[in-house]
């Protein structure tokens, strides 16, 4: 059932060499050379933005970041040329050209005596003209602090260096991740999942989460700082929940489950569902591109779930924890990253390890991205 199928130029690492003979037969010598391919962009300590060929797992560029790398959340310009990184101890945004390493955009969210922190909530408009962040501001007076209401801030990417927010809208507290839909709607993952109109700031709940009051379930626990799911064009975050199968609150007759709250960013369609049993803690998950019935999630295990039947289909114990999961754009390769300093690739059908790359510094809580773009000549 999981017989490996070889694909042109999508094998990675050690497996690549061995597979090449077979692959070249299938692809044929007359196949035109590809002009674009998948890359990974990842922030690592002490201050690096890494660009990695996702097929060979070879780094092709490494830029120095101008600030402390935490949290290291990245959003990419639509042409995948500029990586906008949320760094500077959760406070600053830098846009770097991933080929030249030139800093083309910067914004210090803190201004005057107001210090601003964003947890992992940064997003970009579909046309690349605007960056959105969710801000936790605190006014730092000479002898006391004053926490301010949270808000969404809008920056014009065209403002370049030292950009200032051009609009600000009140927003709920406790927002950790954000993404934009193809129609420009900004989705915020906070106590509930909200959709915001970025021109008026009006927002409404699209997926109830904390506000659910269903006695057959415990409150959902949502832990995420990773706006992943790019290659499936989805906003997705997982929750854990206890289902009371008998009397509400009766733990003796209950079961533990994983679920997700998801927005299809192409259509805006929200889903909120349990997808499998909770056996171990998992940090991030996404559906497989083109195969929305497959949910994959990671921490110290890599697990695959079948969403319609809410069952676990496969599980792999990993050599250490990885916080982030990413799929290749074709959905055939899985990348595990975050936490420590290596990114590992698996064949999503065979779970064969395809290779890994070591960055030389921990990724910690950063959110690496997989992008598809014109070929980059290695700068290293």
């Amino acid at each position: 059932m999981f017989a490996s199928h070889y694909r042109c130029g999508t094998l990675a690492g050690a497996a690549l060499v061995a597979a090449l003979a077979v692959a070249s037969a299938g692809c044929g010598p007359s196949q035109p050379a590809a002009t674009s391919k998948d890359y990974m962009v990842a922030v690592s300590r002490p201050n690096h933005l890494n660009v990695i060929d996702a097929e060979t797992l070879e780094p092709v560029n490494r830029c120095d970041l101008p600030a402390h790398p935490a949290p290291g959340t990245i959003v990419m310009s639509p042409d995948n040329q500029v990586a906008y990184t949320l760094i500077g101890s959760f406070g600053e945004i830098y846009g770097l050209d991933i080929e030249t390493c030139e800093v083309v955009f910067s914004a210090n969210q803190s201004q005057g005596n107001e210090r601003v922190r964003s947890i992992g909530a940064i997003a970009i408009s579909p046309d690349g003209s605007e960056i959105y962040t969710h801000q936790n501001p605190t006014v730092m007076n000479s002898d006391h602090y004053q926490v301010q209401p949270t808000r969404v801030a809008v920056f014009n990417t065209a403002d370049g260096i030292d950009a200032k927010a051009v609009r600000q809208f009140p927003a709920p507290r406790q927002v950790t991740i954000m993404k934009t839909g193809d129609d420009g709607t900004l989705y915020l993952g906070g106590p509930d999942v909200y959709a915001m109109d970025v021109s008026s700031g009006d927002y409404s709940t699209v997926i109830a989460s904390r506000s659910i009051d269903d006695p057959q379930y415990s409150p959902r626990d949502v832990l995420t700082v990773w706006p992943i799911g790019d290659t499936s064009n989805e906003f997705i975050r997982m929750f854990s929940v206890v289902r009371f199968n008998g009397e509400p609150g009766d733990m003796d007759d209950s079961s533990f489950h994983w679920g997700y709250e998801r927005i299809d960013l192409t259509t805006g369609e929200p889903t909120s569902t349990i997808f499998g049993p909770l056996e171990v803690v998992l940090f991030s998950g996404q559906t497989r591109p083109g195969r929305p019935e497959q949910m994959w999630a990671v921490l110290s295990h890599l697990k695959q779930f079948d969403v319609p039947t809410q069952t676990e289909t496969r599980s792999l114990t990993l050599d250490h924890t990885y916080y982030c999961i990413n799929f290749s754009t074709d959905g055939n390769t899985l990348y595990l990253s975050g936490a420590l300093d290596d990114i590992v690739a698996y064949d999503a059908d065979t779970l064969e390890k395809l290779g890994n790359v070591t960055l030389g510094g921990d990724m910690s809580m950063s959110t690496p991205r997989v992008i598809h773009r014109p070929i980059i000549t290695s700068r290293l």
């Binding site: 959760f90 210090r115 002898d143 602090y145 004053q146 406790q174 106590p191």
Partner: protein, 531 residues
């Protein structure tokens, strides 16, 4: 190295400025600028009261986070200046003895306090998950100041709203509208306890003191302290003592008294640095607290001290329990003891081995038909109520602490190991033979032999007993293993373990066991004076 140099800056020795005007000037010198003058004093600062350790930590935060600079000046070292600031603040804005009574375990560094039993769950979840809830219970503030504390926390640690017990609720709203009003009502700035204490005339703690206590691993303790005053609130002390395992020591150390009653002593005992955290009571004739190793606060003696002003004092009876029908060597420790020794009915002196003002020792026989229970012991006019237990049998053994944590350490890392330290206590269930039947007799600490076992199947499977450390069979002190991943363990985990601590007490030819739960876990990375 002089004794002074041995002291941590916290102990503030030798830095006491002569007048309080000078200290107000010091506050203005170092705190004005960021803090504004108001009618009460300096903004924020005048609205809080706390322990010396609490003030020390606040000033350290001013240095670390806000750029307060304290440097050597006018012939005083930076440490001395900081000490003087702490001393002044703790004296003028401290806590009354009654205000610290329920949370003394924090400055005393009692190792295994389960705060979940002391504070309601909503307070523990909100305020006891990063540091102990005693951090706030050992402060008094105006309501506005308590609110400012929330703004400091959230402004400084935004993750508070996003981490466990934060992300599942409206943290800020709950903290501001539910938790803080409750804390502000319980721990207000102005109290009659404090105004009464301020009005109380403080007395010197110089003189002779009789001490008694017990220490896991070493057993019962008695000692004396000869204290001389050297300037305001600064003392020297000749401290000597002995444990019932036979160990003896003498040491000369020093101490500073804060807020009129908070005794903070420091002693080098056989090359090991010890801290003494005691509180004098309102009579200034007794002190309670703890003596502990500076680097291993889990190893310590719970102490009570009584002032020796020439009157007879009976401070301890060793052993604390006598089996009926048996015989034992009984020792009475104290000071100025004279006159007849009165033992419980049925305890007959066979021969007196020693009879002096500080120690009386005799071989005693206990009649087989003696009444059991706890009874007073007297020497002349000095009496120790419930000084000794007469018992038939050890029915049960309780190991304390019943739940505790030990930590790996060493192995080149910066963190000390944190030992497990246990004591076995006995109970005689009395003639009804059942626990809690109304005639139970508490027997006090008993000698035991010690071992560890796996707590559950997982611990057995992971061989926690083999990897987590070593239990000393005679002392009940558990030494955790070395820090760091162990390649011999599954997934190279650390030398952690989930263990059952078992004490076996021999009662004649019966062996009675008791047990406790200990988690051996990884290091704690910060170790502040108040957790």
């Amino acid at each position: 190295m002089s004794a002074r140099k041995l002291l941590a800056p916290l102990l503030l020795i030798g830095a006491i400025a002569p007048t309080s005007n000078a200290d107000d000037a010091l506050l203005n010198r170092y705190c004005l600028g960021c803090h504004m003058p108001s009618e009460q004093g300096l903004s924020r600062i005048s609205e809080q009261r706390k322990t010396p350790e609490g003030w020390e930590m606040t000033i350290s935060r001013m240095q670390l986070m806000h750029g307060l600079v304290i440097a050597d000046e006018d012939g005083r070292s930076a440490a001395e200046i900081k000490s003087a600031l702490v001393k002044h603040l703790a004296d003028s804005q401290g806590l009354a003895p009654s205000e610290t009574a329920t949370a003394r375990y924090l400055p005393e560094r009692q190792p295994a306090v389960q705060e979940a039993t002391l504070y309601p769950a909503h307070i523990q979840e909100t305020c006891g998950r990063c540091h102990s809830s005693a951090r706030h219970a050992l402060q008094r503030r105006s309501a506005e100041e308590w609110q400012k504390s929330i703004h400091f926390h959230l402004g400084q640690y935004p993750s508070i709203e996003y981490s466990l017990y934060g992300r599942d609720r409206e943290w800020l709203d709950i903290a501001v509208n539910q938790i803080i009003p409750e804390i502000a009502a319980n721990f207000p700035l102005q109290t009659s306890a404090w105004s009464d204490w301020q009005a109380t005339e403080k007395q010197s703690l110089s003189g002779s003191w009789q001490l008694a206590g017990d220490m896991p691993g070493k057993g019962r303790f008695v000692g004396t302290m000869a204290v001389t005053q050297d300037g305001d609130d600064h003392y020297y002390a000749n401290f000597s003592g002995e444990f019932d395992n036979g160990e003896r020591f003498t040491s000369r150390g020093e101490s500073v008294v804060y807020t009129g009653y908070e005794w903070r002593g420091s002693f080098d005992i056989d090359g090991v640095e010890y801290r003494q955290v005691l509180a004098a009571d309102e009579s200034f004739n007794s002190m309670q607290g703890r003596l502990f190793q500076a680097d291993h606060s889990e190893l310590g003696v719970n102490l009570s001290a009584v002032r020796d002003s020439g009157q007879p004092i009976l401070s301890a009876v060793w052993p604390e329990q006598l089996k009926v029908g048996g015989s034992a060597t009984l020792t009475l420790h104290g000071a100025n003891m004279a006159g007849a020794v009165a033992l419980p009915a049925g305890v007959n002196v066979r021969s007196v081995e020693r009879s002096g003002p500080s120690e009386w020792r005799a071989v005693v026989d206990v009649a087989a038909n003696a009444d059991t229970g706890r009874f007073a012991v007297s020497h002349g006019s000095a009496t120790l109520d419930s000084g000794v237990a007469l018992f038939n049998q050890v029915s049960a053994v309780t190991v304390l602490p019943d739940y505790s944590v030990a930590r790996v350490g060493g192995n080149g890392g910066s963190q000390n190991k944190m030992f497990g330290a246990f004591t076995a206590y006995g109970t005689d269930y009395g003639s009804d033979g059942v626990a809690g039947g109304g005639d139970d007799i508490a027997l006090g600490a008993l000698p035991a032999s010690w071992r560890v076992e796996p707590w559950d199947e997982t611990a057995a499977h992971d061989q926690d007993v083999k990897f987590a450390g070593n239990m000393d069979a005679t002392t009940g002190i558990f030494t955790p293993a070395a820090a760091g991943p162990n390649p011999e363990r599954k997934q190279s985990t650390n030398n952690v373990g989930n263990l059952k601590v078992v004490a076996t007490v021999n009662d004649g030819d019966r062996a009675v066991e008791g047990s406790a739960h200990m988690i051996a876990t990884v290091q704690r990375w910060n170790n502040p004076p108040l957790r």
